[in-house]
Amino acid sequence: MKRSVRHSKNGKIFGLSEYIIKIITIIILIILWEFFSRVGYLSPLRFPRPSKLAITLWELMTVGYPIGITVWLHIKATVCRILQGYLLAAAFAIPMGLIIGRSYLLEQAANPVITFARSVATISLLPLAIAWFGVDELSRILLIAYGCYWVILTNTIQGVKQVDINFINAGRMLGASRRQLFFRVILPATLPRIFAGMKIALGVGFMVIIAVEMIGTIQGLGALIQQARFYYSSDIAIDGMIFIGILGLLISIVLDRLEQIMLPWAVGLEEVER
């Protein structure tokens, strides 16, 4: 990250690098936490000690919670749901976005609908989805798809609109047919933006799934922490959150890598908000 003038110290503090400072801080915090809960300042019911958390973590991986459903199964359930909803959304949003983005009139007509649909909080559709499709995998997947759909759609439309007019004119002048123009010029020029949208969408889907899983299922990371809440097992809730955080981090790292490999020409693209 770029630093301002005040920070041009090579990123070193007392000769230590940024990462080591961070790790030391976190270790100190954990030790403090352990210490205060052993002394009795932190109630063990609400703030379980780190050592307890570590033991629970191991149990979650081997025995599982509820018994028999290990954390790996929870992760698998969550990831499967996200992927299904995400791919469903992408399959509809990208072609739709390409069509809308190419036509000024369609874009004008679609704009208010899209703005409104985006501001409908995806979670608020949960009761409706349950009423229509039951407390079922289908409603969960559709909700994720809804959340992802509008993000990918807006980014695709933006992408098509922002294609450099000179590229299109050059293509036309060189005699490209409409079809060639679309597949050889517009689509590749739009891809970085589509990818940016897909990246944000996955984050949105991840947020949605955690909340959706809290209702009516026992499989999935959201279900895991919600079950823990019913039995006041704060250690399981915190461990579940750790897994959620790691999964979220992994997803964003993988997507960044994928983008670098697949779209090397898309460097330094500003993301559309949300």
Partner: protein, 258 residues
């Protein structure tokens, strides 16, 4: 832009909505699907007028907005302060960001169970969730703004003799205001979503409760009404935010060019 073409644009922009509503109405009038399960637009309006008394509705809206405003205000205040401090004092910043970086990947909604264990089912747990929704985008953007200030602006101010706190207050913070504004707008929409989710999962009042309760009593038209209402309120509040922020941004940019 000429008046007639503006009028045409307005008409086109409503055409999408009207077409959708018409399709919706036609499908439900044809009664392909049970109207109780799939209410028509007129059915939703009827339900809105009869099934939800206005004073109850206003109460729900009021309490929801109160929660969001409370959580957002705390989140924005803390986020801006921590963002500015950690962006300005480099060493302190590294230490402050270690725990923030650790919790940031966890979506705010994943805190709901723990918030309930910690704070119970009352208001504090909901405010905590909304706070988290606002805090992370705002602190991240504020920090980004503070760290990415154009170095020449700082150098110019320093060579003109500004130092320390005056440099921070007069130059650095104004320079990062646009980023803070972006963070606040994103934070608002996040905390709004968090409010709905928190109210769905555990509440006895508010818009989220309204629709979850309607599901239990099977009033699907009321759910649809509630969903639309949540969307409209989100849109309106976001519009107000954007207006106030853009005006501030413009004022700032105006100052920088003049």
């Amino acid at each position: 832009m000429s008046n007639s073409s503006f009028g045409r644009r307005l008409w086109v922009s409503w055409a999408g909505f009207i077409t959708l509503l018409l399709i919706w109405q036609i499908i439900s009038v044809m009664k392909l699907i049970n109207p109780v399960v799939f209410p028509s637009p007129t059915g939703v309006i009827k339900a809105a007028l009869t099934d939800v008394p206005l004073n109850r509705l206003l109460q729900h809206i009021g309490i929801s907005l109160l929660r969001v405003v409370l959580g957002f205000t705390i989140g924005a205040t803390l986020g801006i302060i921590i963002g500015i401090v950690s962006g300005w004092y480099y060493r302190l910043g590294r230490v402050l960001w270690a725990p923030i970086d650790l919790i940031r990947p966890i979506p705010p909604l994943a805190w709901i169970p723990l918030a309930i264990i910690w704070l119970g089912l009352g208001e504090p747990s909901k405010v905590l969730i909304i706070f988290l929704g606002a805090f992370f985008p705002i602190v991240t953007n504020t920090y980004k703004g503070m760290v990415n200030i154009e170095p020449n602006i700082i150098r110019a101010a320093q060579s003109l003799g500004l130092q320390g706190r005056r440099l921070l207050l007069r130059v650095a913070i104004p320079a990062s205001l646009p980023d803070i504004a972006t963070g606040m707008r994103v934070g608002w929409s996040y905390s709004f979503g968090c409010m709905v989710a928190a109210e769905l999962i555990a509440a006895r009042s508010g818009l989220g409760y309204l629709i979850m309760h309607a599901r239990q009593t099977g009033q699907i038209a009321v759910i649809v009404y509630g969903v639309i209402l949540i969307g409209v309120i989100n849109l309106l509040t976001d519009f107000v935010m954007q207006e106030s922020i853009i005006k501030r941004k413009l004022k700032w940019q105006f100052l920088s060019t003049s």
